[in-house]
């Protein structure tokens, strides 16, 4: 890949551009002579331009094209066509050898197809213009949302695995210059904040009301931090979030400095670099803070899944309400509704204390009633090279915990990048010791049995597909081929139902189905060979997960 031209497309939000930076860093490490172009939306341009691993930025803005189309105006339709054509042309002029499409939209896949980029990893179009995903990492990335309870990898690591066996990239990448630092100092000094002040930043907003911790709680926390540390509270956010600041102000008049819409990206980053801690909901600001190595307390409220989207870096703390279904995107829980039973200001204050202490290792808190309603997790890179969230309060592992741990080991093995067995062993040991053994260990056996049962179903599918291959290769008895295909369809349905009944198996079945849906081409023999590989992989993964489950069991008990 030396000297090759690489495109990394991330056309979603600003935070996602930052979350793609570990992939870019890994690519640059593997291919130092390569030329890397980032394709981003306008809102991600500032971030991409401040990434030293990126050589060029291509701005793509589909909002205007959408408005052109929505207008139903003939001239604007022509403009939309010409704008799309111009993007295709710019992609062609980029002469990219490979594109990593971290944007999972069909429209992005179409652009790369039109541009004729020879190799696309992630969402792309087959030769017959079908929407398919290529690559193990992308397959995992796109299916992980179907079974978030079993996903233990941060999205940054998922993106990193878009490349084969990626080097580790321990953190997000963003650089700012002294000009931005000076401007940030000026902005703060205009509000009477000096270089010696103890600055604590709050981000009150979030993309959705259901992901917001109440402003009143922020205000209570702010007062506590001001009392304890003499902290100067700085509220960050875009201009439209100023109304949250007004709400904060009603609960804590005069306590905070409001910087809503007063900073550009670089100045915001410089303010965060200068801050002692950021207390935040799940936001783009959080990722900028992570990139600037600002310690973070993440209030993981509502349907936020902090393991997947939390800050990518070490020494951050995520607080989550203890309740069933936490972090499931299909169950929307209002952040405000967590108030009574959930995260209290004193929980957040304790978390601030922990991240300020800059522990060498992972801090521990005793499981007393102070924290009975919440879980606290600490971020650190595991020996396997990926980010891991470690419990701060040691509690009995649940079935979901051990299944998640087993799956992590299995996926990393699936990516063929587990490193050495020691890394795997060390990783599991380190996480396991943060848990007490499960209170009811009955599920160990049932989970293992269900995984073995799934492996048998995979074996059966593989055997039937081998027979199908034989029939196709002999070019005869087409009726028999049709019978086998029908039987395979029935088996797939049985397998799906089996996974519904045995939840430890569900993620594996989801990815196998996804692989089936992503088969490219129409040539029966080729299709049958790839189908065979999918059934074989299903069996192997099911057995591997069962084995990993045993490893986890041994480590925990």
């Amino acid at each position: 890949m030396a000297g090759k031209r690489i495109l990394v497309a991330q056309m979603t939000r600003m935070g996602d551009v930052l979350q793609t930076s570990p992939l870019v860093r890994a690519l640059k490490q593997r291919y130092p002579d390569s030329h890397i172009t980032a394709m981003v939306r306008r809102m991600g341009k500032d971030i991409a331009e401040r990434n030293p691993d990126i050589d060029a930025v291509l701005v793509y803005e589909e909002d205007e094209t959408y408005l052109d189309l929505k207008s139903e105006d003939a001239d604007r339709l022509l403009k939309a066509y010409q704008d799309a054509d111009a993007i295709v042309q710019r992609l062609q002029e980029g002469r990219f050898d490979i594109a990593y499409n971290c944007t999972h939209s069909l429209s992005s896949a179409m652009l790369f197809k039109l541009a004729g980029i020879p190799e696309v990893v992630g969402a792309h179009l087959s030769d017959d213009w079908r929407y398919v995903w290529r690559g193990r990492g992308p397959n995992y990335f796109i299916t992980s949302v179907l079974h978030r309870e079993a996903n233990d990898l941060n999205i940054c690591d998922s993106f990193r695995y878009f490349m084969e066996k990626p080097p580790a990239a321990r953190g997000l990448v963003m650089k700012i210059d002294d000009k931005a630092r000076a401007e940030a100092s000026t902005i703060l000094s205009l509000h009477g904040i000096s270089a010696h002040d103890f600055v604590v930043c709050f981000q009150l907003g979030a993309s959705d009301r259901g992901k917001r911790w109440p402003e009143e709680r922020f205000a209570q926390l702010g007062r506590a931090l001001a009392d304890r540390y003499g902290a100067r509270i700085v509220l960050l956010g875009v201009e439209s979030e100023a109304k949250l600041g007004e709400s904060f102000e009603r609960h804590a008049p005069g306590l905070a400095t409001h910087l809503f819409g007063k900073t550009n990206i670089a100045q915001l980053a410089a303010v965060l670099e200068r801050a002692r801690v950021l207390v935040t909901n799940d936001t783009g600001t959080m990722h900028i803070a992570a990139a600037m190595r600002c310690p973070i307390v993440l209030l993981s409220v509502g349907y936020v899944h902090f393991r997947e989207t939390g800050p990518y870096g070490e020494g951050h703390c995520a607080i989550e309400v203890r309740r069933e279904n936490v972090g499931r995107s299909d169950i929307r829980v209002d952040g405000a509704a967590d108030e009574d039973a959930g995260i209290a200001p004193h929980h957040a204050a304790r978390a601030v204390e922990l991240v300020l202490a800059q522990h060498e290792g992972i801090p521990s808190l005793s499981d007393d009633k102070t924290f009975s309603t919440v879980d606290l997790h600490w971020s650190a890179f595991a020996p396997d090279g990926c980010l891991q969230w470690y419990p701060i309060v040691r509690r009995a592992a649940t079935e979901a915990d051990v299944v998640r741990m087993a799956y992590r080991l299995m996926w990393l093995e699936y990516f063929e990048d587990v490193g050495t067995p020691n890394a795997e062993g060390e990783s599991i040991k380190r996480i396991a010791k943060r848990y007490l053994p499960p209170e009811d260990g009955a599920f160990w056996g049932s989970a293992r049995e269900s995984l073995e049962g799934l492996a048998v179903l995979g074996d059966r599918g593989a055997a039937m597909t081998r027979e199908l291959l034989g029939v196709l290769e002999s070019n005869a008895r087409m009726r028999r081929a049709h019978e086998i295909v029908r039987a395979l369809m029935a088996l797939d349905e049985d397998t799906r139902v089996y996974a519904e009944l045995n939840k430890a198996c569900k993620p594996l079945v989801a990815i196998a189905r996804f692989e089936r849906d992503n088969l490219e081409g129409a040539e029966p023999l080729a299709l049958a060979r790839r189908t065979l590989a999918i059934y074989e992989a299903l069996s192997q993964r099911a057995r591997a997960t069962a084995t990993k489950l045993e490893l986890v069991r041994a480590a925990i008990t």
Partner: protein, 592 residues
């Protein structure tokens, strides 16, 4: 507009007025304070101006009209980025400081003072034609909000010149205003506008069934209201989906006062055409202030009443004729036997008409239409008082030597001397080439003179006219010809539609520009524009040339996934996907 350097000579002699102060910033740069408002930051005015421009979302490809010169920092920031700019400044004192600051280049076109005449400035028009975008200097807007509004209005009017708009017409279920809807819709279409007629008459039979088959008046009324409410929602949905620039609601349409308010939220300009007599139909009081424009057919006293009721924008817009419908026809022998007569009247049997026509029964008189229950007139009534349509109306006119017209009154026994609501029949008979005599409704002489439509004030005069013109065919034919020529020249619905648009464009150009004006083209036009040697041109050239260049027509030809596509097909497939996925996301977002 003239060059800044020319202004500098002219303004140099102006004394610096009170309230305009030059200040020195911390950086040593100068800034300006005008009537207490700082034109730029006192800290780093040039840096701040650069940030202001960076965050303004200005298209780098298009020239910029800067409203407000300030001290010129933002103009300098724009020219520094390579923009072509023109500057408009209301205050001569500020303009003087700005041109002296040397931050505005000597070649920059500058306009100083009142902006209302800008539309007539050739240099400004040329600048706008180049696709110029507006940048308003925020402190200037704070000081001169009306000036900024005037500039926006002038600019919007220029941008709308010759542009086709979207027009929706919401019609009634039933009644005299119903046929006018399709005439008006056709007129807007002929003028090149995108037009929608929401035809509520489709629900008339259902309405009749629902209200007439229930004996209780109370229940019947409630059911009728429920159905009218459904029709209002349906009308709103149709109009909102169509997203016009202007929605005209016709008299008697089944919509309430909230209807225009909902459309306003969509940036649609709303108008009501009250083709009724305000003295007989008082409901106008409750709705006239809810619409952006209120069109009516009675100038004079009514206009004063509208003002009193809070209606800010009203206009007298008369009904007219539709030459496609109201045209001369030849009658077959059978038709001549049926329609041929000396004198006829086609319309409803109002009280005054029944009284009046009783004095004409000694003529060969035909009466057409409904509600002619008077015994004296039954012998003259054709087709047992059935309704007639526009085609039949043209035949009635063609068969009558003299077409009577008498404006209706429910109280006066004959010619109503207070009448000021001219009926459409005047224009329709004229356009059909018929000879008519009419009562002298006030204002009629604005539309036809007596050489085109002779008038009578009472029965005696009416009979005298009948006698005179029955005896003089040549004069009858010549008069009818003049009336027809005048009707086609001045009184078609196209003329009325133009009047409505002129009124709306004069008062609401900014809203129309904000909503967006739709261009409509065929694939042949686009292929010619982009060139047939391009992938798009070649692709479009293979389609039937009159295929509309719309997403609906083009996307229909693009296969769904699973088939290899050409480049142009691929780009259209991409656009289709982009739109549908964005709308799916927005729907999810809306759905919470």
């Amino acid at each position: 507009m003239k060059r800044a350097r020319e202004w500098s000579l002219e303004l140099a002699t102006d004394p610096l007025r009170d309230g305009v102060e030059l200040l020195t910033c911390q950086t040593g740069e100068k800034t300006l304070r005008v009537d207490g408002v700082l034109m730029h930051s006192r800290y780093r005015p040039s840096d701040e101006a650069v940030r202001l421009i960076e965050n303004a979302g200005i298209d780098s490809e298009k020239p910029v009209i800067v409203v407000g010169a300030g001290y010129g920092y933002h103009v300098n920031a724009l020219t520094g980025r390579g923009h072509i700019v023109a500057v408009l400044e209301p205050d001569r004192g500020v303009a003087r400081c700005a041109v002296e600051s040397s931050l505005i280049g000597g070649d920059v076109p500058l306009h100083v003072g009142d902006a209302s005449d800008l539309g007539g400035d050739p240099a400004f028009r040329e600048f706008v034609r180049g696709g110029a975008q507006l940048f308003v200097h925020p402190p200037t807007e704070r000081l001169h909000p009306h000036y900024v509004e005037t500039v926006r209005t002038v600019l919007a009017r220029m941008q709308l010149e010759g542009q086709p708009l979207g027009v929706a017409i919401v019609g009634p279920m039933y009644g005299g205003s119903l046929p006018l809807c399709s005439y008006l819709a056709r007129a807007f279409t002929k003028l090149g506008h995108r037009t929608l007629f929401v035809d509520n008459s489709k629900a008339w039979n259902l309405y009749e069934t629902v209200t007439k088959t229930v004996q209780s008046k109370n229940a019947s009324g409630q059911l009728g209201s429920l159905l009218a409410n459904v029709l209002e929602q349906w009308s709103y949905a149709r109009v909102a989906e169509f997203a016009p620039n202007l929605c005209i609601v016709m008299a008697q349409a089944p919509v309430g006062p909230a209807f225009p308010l909902r459309l306003k939220k969509e940036n649609i300009v709303t108008a009501f055409w009250f083709v009724e007599n305000w003295r007989h139909m008082p409901y106008w009081r409750h709705i006239c202030a809810q619409y952006d424009c209120f069109f009516h057919i009675q100038p004079g006293e009514f206009e004063q009443k509208l003002e009193e009721a809070g209606c800010g924008h009203h206009a007298f817009i008369q009904t007219g004729c539709d030459p496609e419908v109201h045209r001369p026809v030849s009658l077959s022998a059978d038709e001549l036997a049926e329609y041929g007569c000396d004198v006829s009247f086609a319309g409803a049997g109002y009280y005054n008409r029944i009284q009046f026509f009783a004095g004409l029964t000694d003529y060969d008189l035909h009466l057409w239409g409904t509600e002619w229950e008077s015994r004296e007139l039954q012998g003259h009534l054709r087709r047992q008082g059935e309704r007639f349509g526009p085609e039949e109306f043209a035949k009635i006119v063609a068969g009558s030597k003299i077409n009577l017209n008498l404006h209706s009154s429910a109280t006066h026994p004959g010619v109503d001397p207070r009448c000021d609501a001219i009926n459409p029949r005047v224009f329709e008979i004229a356009a059909c080439g018929g000879f008519q005599i009419c009562d002298p409704c006030r204002g009629l002489d604005r539309f036809f003179d007596s050489s085109e439509v002779p008038t009578y004030r009472d029965l005696a005069e009416c009979r005298a006219l009948i006698d005179r013109y029955l005896a003089n065919e040549k004069e009858r034919i010549a008069t009818a010809k003049r009336a027809r020529e005048r009707a086609l020249r001045e009184h078609t619905y196209e003329h009325r539609a133009r009047q409505m648009l002129e009124f709306v464009l004069d008062r609401f150009p900014i809203r129309i520009v904000d909503k967006g004006v739709l261009a409509q083209r065929s694939v042949a036009e686009i292929a010619a524009r982009v060139g047939r040697d391009t992938a798009l041109g070649a692709y479009l050239a293979e389609l039937p040339p009159d295929t509309p260049f719309t997403q609906a027509a083009l996307f229909e030809n693009i296969p769904l996934m699973g088939k290899r596509l050409s480049h142009a097909e691929g780009v259209f497939a991409y656009l289709r996907e982009l739109r549908s996925s964005a709308e799916m996301l927005l729907e999810m977002f809306d759905g919470g």
